[in-house]
Amino acid sequence: MKLLARGFILLVLIFLYLPIAVMALMAFNASPLYALPFQFSTEWFEALATDDVLLTAARNSALIAVATAVLATLLGTAAAVALHRARFPGRDTLRVLLLPPIAIPWLITGTAMLLFFFWTGIGRGLHAMLIGHVALAIPYVVLVVNTGLSGVRRDLEEAAKSLGSTPLHAFFAVTLPLLLPSVIAAALFAFAVSLDQFVISYFLATPGVVTLPVQIYAAIRKGFTPEINAISTILLGVSMIVILGFAWLSKAGGALERR
C-alpha cells in the first residue's frame, strides 16, 4: 500500500516535471534542431547574452516583477491588516470580494484592463503592465498575509499597549516582526505572479516594450530555437527558487506562530 502510494506520487511528479525537464535539457544540447544524441553545450546561453531584444524583455520583466512585489505587498499587507483588525460595516463583503479576481480568466481581466486603460487614457506600456500586475497580485498577498495574521495573537499587541506602546508602535514592534515571514512570502508570490504573467502583459504591451513571456511567445511564432529553451530555463529556475522560498517561509511562519 505504501509502495503503491509512493509510486503514484512519483507518476504525478513525472507527469508534472518531464516536459519541463526535457525543455531544460534541450537548452544544453548542441543541436539547433533538437537532434539526439545529446551533446552538452552552453552555446545557447552564450547566444542569449548578445540578444538585445531578449535581454531588454528580461530587464522589463525583472523590473515589473520587483515593482509589483513591492507595491502589491505594501497595499495587500495594509488591506489584510485592515480586514483582520478593524471592524467596520461591510468588512465581510469586502473580504469576499477580494477572491473572485483570482478565478476570473486572465483573458477577461486582460481585455477589461485594456479597454479600461484605453478609455481612461492610461494607455499601454510598462506602467500599464505594472498596474495590471499589481492588481493581479494583491488578492494573493491579502490571502497569504491574512493567514499569517491569524497566527499572531491579538493579546500581544494589547500587552505592548499596556507597556506604553501606541497602537502604531505596537503594530511595528510586535505584530510586524512576527508577520515578517508571511509578508516576505507574499512578496515572493507577487514577484512570481508578475514574472510568469503572459496574457495581461500581452494585452498591455506595446510593440517595442514587452516582457520576457511576451517576447518568448513572439519568438516561438517565428520558429523554435534552443535559445528559447535557454531563456525559458532561466525563467523557470528563478520562478522555482522564488516559489520554493515562498513555501519555506510560509512553513517557517507557521512554525513561529505555533510556538
Binding site: 495573537r153 493579546d155 500581544l156 494589547e158 500587552a159 505592548a160 499597549k161 499596556s162 507597556l163 506604553g164 506602546s165 501606541t166 497602537p167 508602535h169 505596537a170 514592534a173 510586535v174 516582526p177 512576527l178 513561529l256 510556538r259
Partner: protein, 349 residues
C-alpha cells in the same frame, strides 16, 4: 494622598443589548490586593479591561491615582497587566520582553540593565535573561509576564486569571509567590479569577460579581462567614440552605425552629463544616439548632469526610467532618445535625 488607587464610579457596559456591567461602583485601596470573583459571564473580565483601557465604558468614570483616565488610551495609563496566556513577545528574549516597557518610558543604558536584573532576581529568573519565551516552562513564562508588568512601576497591577493555565501544584506555588511579590512591591493589585479558593487565599478584599453587578464585597473572612445572598454563599464555598417560615425567635423549618443571629429571612445558609453530625442517642447539649437528617452517601477523603444527607423534607444537605475519632456514620442511618445560631446566616434569595 488618596485613599484609593483606583476608583470606578457608576460604570456600565452593554454589548449589543446585553448588559455586561450595570452601575458598578468600586474603590481599590492603595497597596491592596483585590479579587474580582465571579462565574464566566459575570462581567469581571470586562471590568478589568475597562480599568486597563481596552474597553470603553458606556457610562461612568474610571480614576487611577489622581487622574481621571476614562478617556485616556491604554498606553498612557501606566498600568501593569498580566494576561491569561501571558502574551510574552515570542520574538524577544526574556530580558527584551521585560525591557520593553522601560524602553517606552525612555529608560536606557545602565539603569535599564539594573532594573531588568533586579526584577529578574525578584521573580527568581536571573539565569534566564537570554532565553526565548518558548524555552521556558509555563510557570517561568508566568513569572516573566509578572516581571514585565511590575518593572515599569505601574500605578495598578491588573491580573487576568493568570494562574488558570497552570496545573494545581504549580498554581499553589505561584499563589504564594504572587502574594510575596505583591507585598514586597506594595502594588495595588486587581486580580480576576473564577477560582474561589484562589480569591480567598490571595486577597485582602474580594468582590463577588454576578450578572454584571457586584453582589458583595469585603475581606475574605467576612464574605465567607457572612455571605449576604444565596449566590454569594453558594459561589464562595459550600453552603446548606434552609427555607421556612419566619416566626417569633427564628425560622420555622418543618417542626424545628432554627435560631438565627441577626434579622430573620425566609432562607438561611449554614456552612457544611459548622454542622456537627450527632448519631442517634448522642447528647445534643450545647447546640442552638438541631435538625434530623438521613445519611445518603459518605465520601471518605482521608483527613476529612463529606456526608451527603437528606433533611426531613428531602432538602439535600452536606456536612464536612474531620476524621478525628470513631467510625463514620453509615449510609441510611438517622442522625441529628447540630450547630449554633451564630453560624446561621440569613441570606437573600
Amino acid at each position: 494622598m488618596h485613599l484609593s488607587a483606583v476608583d470606578v464610579t457608576a460604570v456600565g457596559k452593554s454589548y449589543g443589548g446585553a448588559r455586561v456591567l450595570d452601575n458598578i461602583h468600586a474603590q481599590f485601596r492603595e497597596g491592596s490586593f483585590t479579587s474580582l470573583l465571579g462565574p464566566s459571564g459575570s462581567g469581571k473580565t470586562t471590568l478589568l479591561r475597562i480599568i486597563a483601557g481596552f474597553v470603553a465604558p458606556d457610562t461612568g468614570r474610571v480614576r487611577i491615582g489622581a487622574q481621571d483616565v476614562t478617556t485616556v488610551p491604554v498606553h498612557a495609563r501606566n498600568i501593569g497587566m498580566v494576561f491569561q496566556s501571558y502574551a510574552l513577545f515570542p520574538h524577544m528574549t526574556v530580558a527584551d520582553n521585560i525591557a520593553f516597557g522601560l524602553h517606552r518610558r525612555g529608560i536606557r543604558g545602565a539603569e535599564l540593565q539594573r532594573r531588568v536584573a533586579d526584577v529578574l532576581a525578584m521573580v527568581k529568573l536571573g539565569d534566564f535573561a537570554q532565553r526565548l519565551p518558548k524555552q521556558l516552562s509555563g510557570g517561568q513564562q508566568q513569572r516573566v509576564a509578572l516581571a514585565r508588568a511590575i518593572v515599569i512601576n505601574p500605578t495598578v497591577l491588573l491580573l487576568d486569571e493568570p494562574l488558570s493555565a497552570l496545573d494545581r501544584r504549580l498554581r499553589q506555588e505561584m499563589q504564594v509567590e504572587l502574594r510575596r511579590i505583591q507585598r514586597d512591591s506594595g502594588l495595588t493589585t486587581i486580580f480576576v479569577t473564577h477560582d474561589q479558593e484562589e480569591a480567598l487565599t490571595l486577597s485582602d478584599h474580594v468582590a463577588i460579581l454576578d450578572r454584571g453587578r457586584i453582589v458583595q464585597e469585603g475581606a475574605p473572612i467576612a464574605i465567607y462567614e457572612r455571605p449576604t445572598s444565596r449566590f454569594a454563599a453558594a459561589f464562595l464555598g459550600d453552603a446548606n440552605f434552609l427555607s421556612g417560615r419566619v416566626v417569633e425567635g427564628g425560622l420555622q423549618v418543618g417542626t424545628q425552629t432554627i435560631r438565627i443571629s441577626g434579622t430573620v429571612t425566609p432562607t438561611v445558609a449554614v456552612r457544611p463544616e459548622k454542622m456537627t453530625l450527632l448519631p442517634e442517642g448522642a447528647s445534643t447539649d450545647g447546640f442552638d439548632n438541631l435538625l434530623p437528617a438521613t445519611v445518603r452517601q459518605v465520601v471518605y477523603a482521608g483527613a476529612a469526610t463529606t456526608y451527603l444527607l437528606d433533611g426531613a423534607d428531602g432538602t439535600p444537605l452536606r456536612v464536612f467532618a474531620q476524621n478525628r475519632e470513631g467510625t463514620p456514620a453509615e449510609p441510611g442511618s438517622r442522625v441529628t445535625l447540630g450547630w449554633s445560631a451564630a453560624h446561621t446566616i440569613p441570606v437573600t434569595d
